[in-house]
Amino acid sequence: MAQSSKPIVWGPFAAGGTLTAFLTPALMVLTLLAALGYTPDLLAYERLHAFAGSWLAKLALAGTVFLTLWSAAHRLRITCYDLGVRADTLVATLLYSAALAGTAAAALYLSRI
């Protein structure tokens, strides 16, 4: 039997899981503060624009978006199966494509900053 190519999808899932575990709560707190009207300094247009202007930050942001979307997509794929949705290939294609599309969009927007 052939060794599975699942590592391609699992590798970024594990990386994304780790990244989101470490980072996402803090990011959410930032936007939550903004949502509550206490916008942190970084989220002011000028600062954020300047921050996202650097190549390093662009790369980091794109990477974060990719890993976040990918790990969520992978988990959702499995959850769908757990919940009885048996069209795994279809679900997988849709979800991973969505994650890739989201990443591509983020890259596009970043390139415009």
Binding site: M1, A2, Q3, S4, S5, K6, P7, I8, W10, G11, A14, I78, Y81, D82
Partner: protein
């Protein structure tokens, strides 16, 4: 010596007469210190000789008496009556076909066990005259926990993914492969990867972790499976991104 009347609700199924399983109630006088297996034996001896189930050691080492007790996969010989109140519901292990009463069909598991090559494939052959391989206590410790599996299959009954995807090789068999992979004497990982790193191998595991929670031997199959996933992923990326590393 205190006695207690215990109500057992046992799933009965007889292929020659029943279309589907049904519950049967038994009310038995038990001693407080008994385990569920003692109660079943008592039923068989005094109330109903037609009840079928598996057991042998009565000391939680042979792995034959796995059943669902109040919905949890457990060893009947290590489930104490004193830990249960009210009616105790006894069913065959989940996810396995029922042969009869509490006896399940385990062909699937036995076949998977064989597939993962759970035996030492020596890294370096050694003649008997050369004596034992050297293995330090630290090297022993690296895999020891995974040798403790008694093939009771409680983990299969607990794992939802096995229930959903019967092809999944499952926690115990993969842990056993991992046990040999981790053994300092072994060189057979590549051969085992063909099975355990396949789609039906470790990749059907979603890290539910239920397997480890119910394992009576604390084998921690969930840990073994995640370790296999990481290693297989590293393998894959090395092989595809740095193919020149391949011998």
């Amino acid at each position: 010596m205190s006695e207690r009347r215990v109500e057992l609700e046992v799933l009965r199924y007889h292929p020659e007469t029943d279309a589907a399983p049904r519950f049967q109630r038994y009310s038995v006088d038990c001693r407080e210190e008994w385990v569920v297996l003692d109660a079943l034996n008592h039923v068989k001896e005094t109330l109903d000789p037609t009840l079928s189930y598996r057991w042998s050691c009565h000391m939680a080492v042979c792995g034959s008496c796995g059943m669902m007790i109040n919905g949890e996969p457990r060893l009947a010989c290590k489930s104490f009556l004193r830990d249960y109140q009210g009616v105790i519901r006894v069913e065959p292990l989940a996810h396995f076909p029922i042969e009869r009463d509490l006896v399940t069909v385990i062909d699937d598991f036995m076949a998977k066990l064989k597939r993962v090559k759970p035996y030492l494939i020596p890294a370096q052959a050694r003649a008997l005259e050369q004596g034992e391989y050297r293995q330090t206590p630290a090297e022993l410790k690296r895999y020891k926990q995974f040798t403790l599996c008694m093939n009771c299959m409680l983990c299969y009954a607990a794992c939802p993914e096995y229930g959903l995807i019967p092809k999944f090789i499952g926690p115990a068999a993969i842990s056993l492969a991992h046990r040999y992979n981790q053994d300092s004497r072994d060189g057979g990982r590549a051969a085992r990867q063909e099975e355990i790193a396949a789609a039906e191998g470790v990749w059907e595991c979603s890290f539910t972790g239920a397997c480890s929670e119910v394992c009576p031997e604390h084998v921690d199959p969930a840990a073994a499976l995640q370790q296999v996933k990481i290693k297989s992923t590293v393998d894959w990326y090395l092989a595809h991104l740095m193919p020149w590393l391949k011998k």
